[in-house]
């Protein structure tokens, strides 16, 4: 490609094109004798080639100052991996890349499995585990859970929901039945009380006028009587009233 800055001007018997071809050799120091004289004469006389010589020399000096840059440390390993799929231990060790698979397994074993295994081997852990197993088996036996039942357990969500509703229905039926039984028992007790003869009046205790010393016991006794307890009152039978029919009064008033 022709250089637009190099004309065909002739100065001191040398054309600019010829000067341009000799410029590199001149900067390399390989020109000598007549060629060097003609070159220098043209550089001094030509207004284009003279500055070009100065610029080329300056640029060459600048470029000589550039030093080689250091390639990245992992460049060789990346090249080998991308070309041959080679991923040698030596290269990885020099470039401190990721650890190989085997080494990672060793790391996991050393950091996690070894401490766990050390703890498991202790007698204290074995005793604790045995006790927990024993308690669990006893609990399951008491609850009536059999291994065959555990096998039949269906852990699907629908099955779990169905089991929950069945258990809930059983509990509701049990509560309803218990309520009916209690109501029946209460009715029977009421009938029995109504049919039973009146109890004799309790004998008055000899308090010796010191009831104030045990107020809590007295109070506790009163509160222990239920409201359902019947208190029978009966009028004394005097001589004038022997012929009258006996009237008994039943009250539910509680002693306070």
């Amino acid at each position: 490609m022709p250089d637009r800055h190099i004309s065909d001007h002739t100065s001191n018997g040398m054309q600019c094109h010829e000067f341009d071809l000799m410029l590199s050799d001149a900067l390399d120091g390989v020109l000598s004798g007549t060629q060097l004289d003609r070159f220098q004469a043209h550089a001094q006389s030509c207004k284009v080639c003279g500055p070009l010589l100065a610029e080329a020399e300056a640029g060459r000096s600048w470029l000589k100052g550039l030093t080689e840059v250091e390639p990245p440390a992992n460049l060789v390993a990346n090249i080998l991996a991308s070309t041959m799929g080679v991923d040698t231990q030596r290269l990885r060790a020099t470039t401190s890349q990721r650890q190989p698979h085997v080494s990672r397994l060793e790391h996991v074993r050393a950091s996690f499995l070894e401490p766990v295994w050390t703890m498991v081997r202790q007698p204290r852990f074995a005793m604790s585990f045995g006790m927990a197993f024993f308690a669990l088996s006893v609990g399951l036996t008491v609850a009536g859970v059999k291994p065959s039942d555990i096998k039949a357990i269906d852990l699907r969500p629908a099955a779990i929901r169905r089991a929950y509703y069945n258990a809930h229905a059983r509990v509701v039926r049990y509560v309803d039945n218990a309520r009916a039984v209690y109501e029946l028992q209460a009715a029977l007790r009421g009938i029995k009380r109504n049919l039973a003869p009146a109890e004799p009046a309790p004998k008055p205790k000899d308090h010796k006028n010191d009831t104030t010393q045990q107020p809590e016991q007295k109070q506790e006794r009163n509160y222990s009587q239920t409201g359902d307890q019947l208190i029978m009152a009966r009028a004394p039978l005097g001589p004038s009233l022997r012929d009258l029919p006996v009237v008994s009064v039943t009250t539910y008033r509680r002693f306070v």
């Binding site: 003279g50 500055p51 300056a58 100052g65 550039l66 090249i79 041959m84």
Partner: protein, 199 residues
């Protein structure tokens, strides 16, 4: 640079399926290819991806290498350059390139170019360059046109001779020299412009 017979043997072992031989090739050439990609693409991430692509392509086309037709490093560099050109076309960087060919820098023609060059008494390569200076040069290099950039990189950064560069770029040696000269000059002009703005 390389013993032809040794490299040929290495390539044969590689083709036969010797993983160690391929690893040796990767170890030997990854630095060189990465630097070419980095200087051309301008980005470390792109350079890493491109370097991997270069080796993948190398691995697939290794049987096509003929040591009688040229040095292995030239073959590797050619693959790298072709991939970089493809990458450049994909990323459309040429539209953003501030090339010497397209931008004639008319505003700078008002004064002789020799007067625009930095002070020669303090050459830019003197002493230890700071990291910022290196980054500035790298940024300026990424701004020159790709044709000039690749020639300059292969010559001044990879120390390839003109014949090898001509083989890689598939252009005559004269064109290679011309591109190198123009690339160096454009880089100097860009850096001068940069430092003038900073100053």
């Amino acid at each position: 640079m390389e013993d032809v017979q040794v490299v040929a043997m290495l390539v044969r072992r590689c083709i036969a399926g010797d993983a160690a031989a391929w690893e040796e090739i990767v170890q030997t050439y990854n630095r060189r290819i990465y630097n070419i990609c980095y200087r051309f693409a301008g980005s470390a991430d792109d350079a890493q991806d491109l370097t991997q692509e270069v080796f993948i392509k190398m691995y697939r086309t290794l049987p096509s290498y003929d040591h009688t037709k040229g040095a292995f490093v030239t073959w590797v560099t050619t693959i790298t350059r072709n991939l970089l050109v493809d990458h450049f076309r994909k990323t459309k960087q040429d539209r953003m390139t501030d090339s010497m060919d397209t931008a004639a820098s008319d505003h700078e023609d008002a004064q002789p170019l020799s007067k625009q060059i930095p002070d020669r008494s303090a050459p830019p390569d003197a002493g230890v360059r700071s990291r910022e200076v290196s980054e500035t040069i790298h940024a300026a290099l990424s701004k020159i046109s790709p044709e000039l950039r690749e020639a300059v990189i292969l010559r001044d950064l990879q120390d390839m001779d003109y014949r090898e560069i001509a083989a890689v770029l598939k252009v005559p040696e004269g064109t290679v020299k011309s591109r190198i000269n123009r690339g160096r000059a454009e880089l100097a002009r860009l850096l001068q412009r940069t430092y003038r703005q900073v100053m």
